[in-house]
Symmetry: C2
Subunit: 159 residues, 2 copies
Amino acid sequence: MTTTLRMTGKLDPRDSWTAGAGCSIAKSVELLSTRSAFLLMREAFYGATRFEEFVRRAELTDATASTRLHELVEHGLLELEPYQEPGQRTRHRYLLTEKGADLFPVIVSLMQWGNRWLSDTGGPAELLHRGCGATVGTELRCEHGHTVELADLDLAPTP
Amino acid sequence: MTTTLRMTGKLDPRDSWTAGAGCSIAKSVELLSTRSAFLLMREAFYGATRFEEFVRRAELTDATASTRLHELVEHGLLELEPYQEPGQRTRHRYLLTEKGADLFPVIVSLMQWGNRWLSDTGGPAELLHRGCGATVGTELRCEHGHTVELADLDLAPTP
């Protein structure tokens, strides 16, 4: 038998509602929406800031990268900061905003899952905790610090 | 200044490589690829098992749901199990596999981020730890149990 969430409050019974357009999962996926958006966010976490870096490292065309970076700025995940190297004209670089940086657990979860399930070798790279050298991933925890599994979860309407 | 990962081993310097097609993030995104795949996985975690449930709750057409569920079975995220109600013909229901269930942190991270950043009201629903009532989300932790932030992370080639 598959383990699933338990529905509570007005979300129980499950047949009485559908998630619809307000669902935060749907909204997040719609905002990210494309493979290229994920790859550009990956590169932002890897330290890319300049347009040429994003194009080269995410292996996108100039046109795709330009459109997508513009959208990520519009959505507030990246912000443009002017910078100038000696003797050069002013240019702009892309920096993660707090909203963008907060997407990191999504990226890590995707990496962790891909390393585990889509590779025979554990994937090409892994995240390590610099302090102790152990592998880093995402864990389900509640705000009180308890480790939580799917079977321990209630889905509840927000207050 | 934006905080980013530190690259180690043959991943340093960053300019000497690109992630390419082997990247687990890219592979995971390509496999999921569509809004409808995410919504169907959401519904699987919410307890849907029957085709009609997936169609209605994810608000998809029969054709889209059918194509996408078939792909999710092909990719091993869901599996088909025959079942029979008294007096009815044998039908099939869709159950999460271990590979599919392991995607849960991705879904939770997307919900958590959407609740925080794409809603004025904290989103329509939240996950609670049944044992203590506290809100549940994903956290970055290393295998030794340390809480980890972006600045504490090394990206390293897998051994």
